[in-house]
Symmetry: C2
Subunit: 387 residues, 2 copies
């Protein structure tokens, strides 16, 4: 047994040696420490630093909170009591943004890396992994005839999918925002955890969730794309091809998964740019989706009507709205935060729908154009579809 | 068109606002910049810093190289000509390890985060995404009867798997090292790119690659595990259950994928602790694998013979070696770096095999206990199996 421990220790030390990039290395520092009363302590070792701050979305009214230096150059900060949620943070050491070396839990938002933690006991429970049956998450490649290239797609299949070979499932097409990619809803959105938990509780029906990549200049997320080290966000996502080639996505999914191949078995929802895409796709492919969700949608973007890639795609929008609502979608869902910079554009669209007497469901939450809201909207929307 | 650009700009600005954690923010700084002559320039903006260094595995003989401050507080360093490879790096700003905010390409090695880039034109091409048919990568959950819990598993299925429903495929079981998880071979090991490229070139046969999680205290990688925010490496991976429950992994794979269900259709290989696991599993499940790969294997770890979890598992090892080689494995493969701290233990094992006249293939490379070598071994090994 001693030898085993020694060997393990040798491997441990070795790991420290090969991981040459880390100065801080592995340590016994616990950060973040979530206390039983839902306060959280952050710790960061920086004996030579002049100021260390923590910046995070749990802070109220301030951009960053000063940490205090204690023994051995370890800086500390303890929050007040935090409501149950998923929170992001980084440290700021003498003005430079630094990730917490003691927290391996990370999310990338476009080009920006952040640590995260989850406070359980409420909303945060929706985003935690629980001891429930888990769906599978696959990254697959479909061929887009419109784009003339292969593109990457994330697909969630619910628990039981593999073991019920004759059962067919409805599909939620779930679209990311500008600069995001096919990983965004899984990482930042915790989509697989949200669905696992809702389905296990009987609050959502088992469904497939398809998360395409809406940046047409690229095939896939950073590291999975064939075009080299592109920088997220320099990608000019607002072109027409995302919407126009969407039939290729549906064709791939309907031919490779056991789907319900009609409008009653299809929902489309997206955040920000993906909300605009959901709006446009649902208008241009009528009778395809019985459920539409616009999450903080980037409405009000004026399109070029005579787009060569997609002739007619941005013409007769009002008529297309009439057609869509004449088909009586089972759910047309609009959600946005009170402080979202897109709320006026969404209010204008709602006024248009109201004037025509078209029915939709509306959810207005606190906060702005943030992932916290999009997780809430997904959790709400997915309980209301395919029922 | 103007409105479209304005709207896109508004979203861009907004993204800057919600990504509150970044001080550096989005910028036009290019880093790393890979020049046509295979030199690389790193850039980092830190107007108030006293020293900025870059630390990376491309440096020869030094731990870190000093960067020079230029205009606008942007520090720079340009490497010499680098051979084609995948390289890792971080910045060190006044002694603190910092990720490159202009490079969204990141790998997590256990608890240590690193940026990466790939120099094409040689070995690096094995790890790049090319315009070839791509396999699918799934994260699935299997139930381990031995452990009494669900566990997460990564599975690569080669291009064409979904479209050839009557074809059966051989399976490579590919195991990670201590502190790693079911993501390690995909992220650090670039396993799906290596296999995509080799299969497209006709150098490897289409195969399924199964990457289980070998840390039995946990179910899954950080963020996907039900036990909360565990810290990678505090996990005591060297217990017997990984090997003992391996039959649960094989049973799941054979019942959920179209596999060749016999020794000629199974390979097992692993790095470091996963090399030890491959050694032990192949000895204790004879006639299960015709191909065994030990990559920098952590041999020489003394086990408790009378292990209660797995009676007899660590007894009669020499006899089990005789049985394994009496079955004439088609390939028994040992690979290690010249500077690996485990080379003596591997030499001792090879001497034992040599004394008995048991055949194996041996590859010795430069360097130590590092991912660069494990990618090379996977690229080599996977060309030699199932043929």
């Amino acid at each position: 047994m001693k030898k085993l421990i020694l060997a393990a220790a040798a491997l441990f030390l070795c790991a420290g040696a090969w991981a040459q990039q880390s100065l801080t290395g592995r340590s016994n520092i616990v950060s973040p420490e979530i206390h039983p009363d839902n306060t959280v302590t952050f710790r960061f070792r920086a004996p030579k630093a002049i100021t260390v701050q923590v910046s995070g979305d749990f802070l109220q009214g301030v951009r960053a909170a000063d940490m205090k230096e204690g023994e051995n150059g370890i800086w500390e900060y303890t929050t007040g009591v935090l409501p149950s949620e998923l929170y992001n943070y980084s440290f700021i050491v003498d003005g430079i943004s630094v990730k917490d070396p003691n927290n391996a839990y990370l999310q990338r938002d476009i080009a920006n890396l952040m640590n995260y933690f989850i406070i359980p006991g409420g909303k945060g429970d929706n985003y935690l992994v629980h001891d429930v049956p888990h769906g599978s998450v696959s990254r697959v490649w479909y061929h887009s005839d419109v784009m003339g290239k292969d593109r990457r797609l994330s697909v969630y299949t619910p628990a039981g999918y593999e073991d019920n070979p004759s059962k067919r499932y409805p599909v939620l097409y779930l679209l990311h925002g500008m600069g995001g990619d096919e990983e965004a809803w899984l990482s930042l959105g915790r989509a697989s955890q949200i669905l696992d938990n809702l389905i296990a509780q009987g609050k959502a029906v088992p469904m497939i969730v398809v998360m395409p990549n809406g940046n047409m200049l690229h095939q896939a997320a950073p590291g999975e794309d064939g075009s080299g080290m592109y920088k997220p966000y320099n990608s000019g996502s607002f072109d027409t091809s995302t919407e126009y080639q969407f039939r290729d996505v549906i064709a791939y999914v309907d031919s490779h998964y056991r789907t319900v191949k009609k409008a009653s078995g299809r929902a489309i929802a997206g955040l920000s740019m993906g909300g605009l895409h959901s709006y446009e796709i649902s208008l241009n492919y009528p009778k395809t989706f019985d459920y539409v969700g616009l999450f903080s949608a980037a409405l009000g973007v004026e399109r070029v009507p005579e787009n060569a890639m997609a002739p007619g795609f941005y013409q007769d929008i009002d008529r297309k709205i009439d057609v869509l609502f004449a088909n009586k979608p089972r759910l047309y869902y609009i959600a946005i935060g009170k402080d979202d910079f897109l709320i006026q554009a969404n209010n204008a669209y709602r006024a248009k729908l109201d004037a025509k007497g078209y029915k939709y469901e509306y959810l207005e939450t606190d906060g702005g154009h943030i992932w916290r809201n999009w997780r809430i909207y997904l959790n709400d929307f997915s309980q209301k579809i395919f029922k």
